[in-house]
């Protein structure tokens, strides 16, 4: 299992899964502390219409237009939620529910109405992606990792996802102190002259970048799970922000690896022939980790 076949078939999906999980979990920590945990949920629903519109406009399933379309849809959704909340004086959760269901419904309808039968674009794909299909056929063994010719045949999702992870990590590293202050005491941060409105929006946009980059590779269900479950489990383990972020990164990577391995090899161990959905399994594993942390974590209650 650790030979050439592993490098070609399992290594790229596992690495992509880790990148996705960590890139979503990092901003997820701050969203969780700010009480915006469901932003990830909303973003990953509205990405669908963005991608469909991009496809209808350009007529091709290419990365560039799709990322643009998805990012555009995410921005439209954030603005629409804010507008409905203020214009109609409606509670944020309800405003979010109105916007993302309507946009998702619009996306599904567009998809049904347009002729996408010859391209790889459907609702199931949008929901749970296809992590297993991201294989690296040019690889012949571990040595391929150093071979430029073989590296060129790597699934494009891997470098793209690594880049997204880099952007997210740099953002968190640069704005660590302001983000920390804003998450725990918004009033104090404003008193120090911090522009929390702009920083909050930047956090949402960075989350959208992570979600959109991940969406194409793994579908929206992992994205939602990774925004919330690893940070929530990490929250049960510690009271310090630095440690919480570190725990969440560990939990995210653990869910990605264990989820993928269980999905790919687990059924074989119990004698079944086919594998199960890796995306679903990764989300399930993150949920199990959260469940364990919620029952046993040293800081699981409000006053500990």
């Amino acid at each position: 299992m650790m030979g050439a076949e592993f490098v070609a078939l399992s290594l790229p999906p596992i690495l992509i899964g880790i990148c996705v999980a960590v890139a979503c979990a990092l901003p997820g920590n701050f969203l969780l502390l700010r009480g915006q945990a469901l932003i990830g949920d909303a973003i990953s629903h509205v990405v669908l219409p963005g991608i469909v519109v991009a496809f209808l406009v350009t007529g091709l399933v290419a990365t560039g237009p799709m990322l643009l379309g998805a990012a555009g849809a995410a921005v439209v959704a954030v603005i629409a939620i804010e507008a409905i909340r203020r214009l109609g004086r409606i509670e944020a959760g309800a405003a979010m529910g109105v916007v993302f269901t309507a946009m998702f419904a619009g996306g599904v309808l567009l998809l049904e109405q347009s002729d996408t039968s010859n391209v790889h674009l459907d609702v199931e794909h949008a929901l749970f992606g296809n992590l297993e299909s991201l294989i690296w056929l040019d690889a012949t063994g571990w040595a391929s990792l150093l071979d430029p010719v073989a590296l060129a045949g790597m699934p494009v999702e891997l470098p793209r996802m690594a880049l997204a992870l880099g952007v997210v990590a740099v953002f968190v590293w640069l704005f660590w102190r302001p983000l920390a202050m804003m998450s725990f005491d918004e009033g104090f941060a404003q008193g120090l002259g911090l522009r929390t409105g702009a920083l909050g929006l930047a956090l949402v946009i960075i989350s959208a970048v992570a979600a959109v980059a991940a969406f194409d590779a793994v579908g929206s269900i992992i994205v939602i799970a990774m925004f919330i479950c690893p940070p929530a489990a990490a929250r049960m383990m510690t009271n310090r922000l630095g440690a919480q972020v570190a725990w969440s990164v560990g939990f995210a990577a653990l869910s990605a690896v264990s989820g993928y391995v269980l999905a790919g090899y687990g059924p074989l161990w119990i004698g079944a022939s086919a594998s199960v959905s890796a995306a679903g399994m990764i989300a399930t594993m993150s949920g199990l980790i959260l469940a364990v942390a919620a029952v046993l974590g040293p800081h699981r209650t409000r006053n500990s």
Binding site: L109, I228, A232, A272
Partner: protein
């Protein structure tokens, strides 16, 4: 074609589905109102996503027991069980741990949904699972529904509606005044449980029609829409029911007219269109109404400031002020006050002078708090008080 669908002329099954969607819409709108009032609208999102593993497990169990696996009552029963488990997880996480309710909702919906997907892939590998059509539960599929299924849908939607109407008094009470509700014998905990139970039923019944991803829209959008039209809770309940029913009925009818129009998204988009209409046009809270209100206010400020300028003999340069005063016949084209303008200016000036005295005097503190530069003093003080103010305005001067 659409006319036939609206008039229930598209055959027995399509008519039953349309009727079911109508009843479901009403029940969801009414039940959603109570969720919305308690600010827990998104809990329904967790409940609906949590139905998926139940559907998958029910199918696997039914096949393992030698059955067909596609029996709708069985699948819906499984959905209800796992949705209940999801709801309990949300409650437990948000009460017993330090997580907020939003994080609990997000965690439960993503994990249950993910596990459901795992089960669906298992079902697909089973021999019986090839044509199970469980994906239909994601986005709803009413096309090709069996007669029994359509009947089950319509009847259970009707039952849920009856249940909500039966419980609406205690639900209203618990939403606004949990303390009073408890004193009168309705324990808020139990009422909450009942509310969530109803939401769960609506979700499960709606699975086949709207699908589990979008059913939450049926619970959230109509109450939010209804809220634009009224401030009274009983009216919100009825309006939300009517709006939800309308969306379900129109959506199901439109979707019955063509194969590429899936029911769920159409119902949601009709509902959203009603919302957009209300957001723009509702009196009081609508966008148009508040723009008009703002404009009226702006004009009053301009007229008032213009009159005060006239009273102190200053020329008016500001265009809007000039135009407004001119239109009201208070000034001539060259900016000189007409007779009516002089009178109005004198009145405004007197008002301002009286206000100045009122605001300087501690005994008028409450009245002075209402000063905004527009309110006439007669609206705030009694004639006696004004006489009192006036007597102090023209206090006799000492003769030297």
């Amino acid at each position: 074609m659409l006319g036939d669908a609206l008039l229930f002329q598209l055959g027995y099954n399509a008519s039953l589905v349309t009727l079911g969607a109508l009843l479901l819409g009403v029940a969801a709108g009414v039940a959603g109102t109570f969720l919305f009032l308690r600010k827990r609208a998104l809990v329904s999102d967790a409940i609906s996503h949590a139905t998926l593993p139940g559907v998958g497990l029910a199918f696997i169990v039914m096949v393992a027991l030698g059955g067909d696996g596609r029996s709708l009552p069985g699948l819906l029963f499984g959905a209800a069980l796992s949705a209940g488990a999801g709801l309990l997880c949300v409650q437990w996480l948000s009460r017993r741990t330090r997580l907020g309710e939003d994080a609990a909702i997000g965690a439960v919906l993503s994990v249950f949904f993910g596990f459901g997907i795992v089960l669906l892939t298992i079902v697909q590998t089973m021999n019986a699972g090839r044509q199970a059509g469980l994906e239909g539960f994601l986005l709803g599929s009413t096309a090709g529904m069996l007669r029994d299924e359509a009947l089950l849908l319509a009847v259970s939607a009707g039952l849920v509606l009856a249940l909500v109407m039966l419980l609406r008094r205690p639900l209203t009470l618990a939403a606004f005044d949990p303390g009073f509700s408890e004193v009168t014998g309705w324990r808020p905990g139990w009422i909450d449980l009942a509310m969530m139970g109803i939401v769960l039923l609506v979700t499960v019944v709606g699975l086949k029609v709207v699908g589990l991803i979008l059913i939450v829209a049926l619970l959230i959008v109509p109450p939010v829409t209804a809220r634009f039209w009224t401030e009274r809770v009983d009216v919100v309940v009825i309006t939300a029911g009517v709006l939800g029913g309308l969306a379900g009925y129109l959506g199901a009818a439109i979707s019955a007219t063509a194969p590429a129009l899936p029911t769920g998204p159409i119902v949601v988009l009709v509902s959203f269109a009603l919302f957009g209409l209300s957001l723009l046009c509702a009196p009081g809270r609508g966008v148009l109404a508040s723009v008009l209100r703002h404009q009226r206010y702006q004009r009053r400020v301009h007229v008032r400031q213009g009159l005060l300028a006239l009273a102190s003999g200053q020329p008016i340069y500001e265009r809007l002020t000039h135009r407004l005063l001119r239109r009201a016949g208070l000034i001539r084209a060259d900016g000189v006050a007409t007779t009516a303008g002089q009178a109005a200016a004198a009145k405004a000036q007197l008002d301002e002078t009286r206000w100045a005295l009122v605001r300087a005097d501690q005994t008028f503190a409450t009245a002075a708090a209402r000063y905004d530069g527009l309110t006439a003093i007669e609206d705030v003080l009694t004639p006696d008080q004004i006489t009192d103010v006036d007597s102090r305005l023209s206090r006799p001067q000492a003769v030297s």
